[in-house]
Symmetry: C2
């Protein structure tokens, strides 16, 4: 799940607003030669290509999430996902990653445990990351609690350990992002994420709109960092009957450049209803609605009609770190 | 789940064999006066009462286990259960325990994580219990690996921490046992369990048959420790179509004294099938068969026809530690 309340994510209330301008210039590694005008060109597409990553969060969180997301991958209209390494169902999705090396799987770096009935803690030894844990030694329930308590050294050690564990399970991550946006909550946390990502030669999900909405992102990024144009995610303001319309409207407004749709899949089943009890936002029914939309013929037609091409984080990783 | 391969649990192959003799003498706290001839008398029943605890293992392991076991409790024919504190669904069953203080819930002390797709680790900081963890920092998959690697000091610290965490969640345990029988695997582990149990004034599940089948149990126990007569649990040798017959035959052979049936409930649903994948023994369908039997009118009739009275561990705890 991703909730980035501090940042200008497109939600129900803002879809339809024109996106921020794109057209960041890209330079050769020496910095001497301007080689691309647009991100699509850097990725090998025409400058005016409308490129979309449909990105499923929260893999590993529950069996229901794993099963639904794998179904969506197999349908072929969802290009990417990210894995929560500390969660109990990691081994199941890691087995999928090993048997599907073509799958575009990143890590949804996790410093929160947000469901009251069903919880998890850190990869590292609890004594080493005490600032990240609540009184029961689980991760905090909310991203704001996590961010306000977090010791940066402990955060860095824990997220490096999550990457190490993923690799020990045979996962070859293509990108990084942050569960519930915890690592985007302030400059120090984001710098930590970026340092770890660069050391691992992995791109980080970040959009130009976010840069524009904060006073710290632009000073941390450098010209080699790939910044996508727009991130779209549905919010609690959308009612069930408005689900398809939200996504259809969003797709009709997609501009040339790279857009990511952050989505959340699961079945509306007993496990998921119990895990998300008393929490309809990002709950079981919500996730099944996402699954239904992104496996539908309607979504396929919207892609075609709006001339939108699906891409993956693997392509971005190759462009950002061609030496990998 | 309980698997006690070293000990003489009644399984498909041994049901029908006459139970070991009962009739242990009980003494007053001063040790001067023989006050009861039999365990039923010590519990306040006639000497020839046939007393049965139907005990559901593995609470907290999965939502499916919690939901199925709560359903069985509500049906009224299952008297007791035990909770796996390190498991992700602990908070869900702890909420039930807080809202149902009459429920007879013990702790299924856990030092293994036996399902390959879905795993958990210790309550204590991993650095403090390194001998209990595999290369991925989960508990070992099997009770034999756990027992062979376990450092006794670390075992004691971890099981004390599990009791502490249970109490922090508002659970008031009535008894202790050991998931997959790990703490019954050798004398040192059992001594550790017994020391922790006595310090916490909690009875431990142990039967006279087990004492007879080992060379160490009798020397560790003292006259105040309550030892039940017989433990019955179904084994992999029973086919699905023989489920009811196994339990019916077992109930017809129950003798005066205290018998425990160790059972495992869950629904045969997606979560449980995924958790127990490639492992039909103690798997999803197995557990639903147990649920069906122990919530059936047939089981109720068998109780009546065989003059068997259901009791709980709370009664044993009160008899063993009247000062609690």
């Amino acid at each position: 799940m991703i909730r980035i309340v501090l940042l200008a994510v497109v939600t129900a209330t803002s879809v339809g607003v024109a996106p921020a301008s794109f057209g960041q210039a890209y330079y050769s590694p020496s910095g001497l030669q301007r080689i691309h005008n647009t991100l699509p060109e850097r990725l090998g597409y025409p400058a005016d290509a409308k490129l979309l990553i449909v990105h499923a969060d929260d893999l590993g969180m529950a069996h229901s999430v794993n099963a639904a997301t794998i179904k969506a991958f197999e349908r072929g209209l969802v290009t990417s996902g990210s894995i929560m390494v500390p969660c109990p169902w990691l081994p199941e999705i890691a087995a999928y990653a090993r048997s599907h090396p073509e799958a575009d799987l990143g890590l949804h770096l996790t410093l929160t445990s947000e469901w009251s009935s069903y919880r998890w803690g850190p990869v590292l030894s609890k004594d080493r990351v005490a600032s990240l844990l609540d009184k029961n030694s689980y991760f905090y329930l909310t991203e704001s609690e996590a961010a306000s308590h977090a010791n940066t050294t402990e955060v860095e050690a824990e997220i490096r350990a999550q990457i190490d564990r993923a690799r020990a399970f045979g996962i070859k991550p293509t990108h990084l992002d942050s569960h519930m946006g915890t690592l985007y909550q302030n400059k120090t946390l984001f710098e930590t994420l970026l340092r770890v990502a660069r050391d691992n030669k992995l791109p980080v999900m970040i959009s130009k709109e976010w840069i524009a909405s904060t006073n710290y992102l632009s000073s941390i990024l450098n010209p080699n960092d790939i910044v996508i144009d727009k991130i779209i995610t549905i919010g609690p303001g959308v009612k069930a009957e408005g689900w398809s319309k939200f996504y259809a409207d969003a797709m009709k407004t997609i501009q040339p450049g790279v857009t990511e749709m952050v989505v959340h899949f699961a079945y509306d089943d007993e496990e998921m209803r119990a895990a998300t009890i008393d929490h309809p936002d990002w709950g079981a029914a919500w996730r099944q609605r996402d699954l239904q939309f992104f496996t539908s013929d309607f979504f396929r037609r919207l892609l075609d009609e709006n001339h939108i091409k699906l891409i993956s984080w693997r392509e971005i990783a190759k462009a950002q770190y061609p030496e990998r």
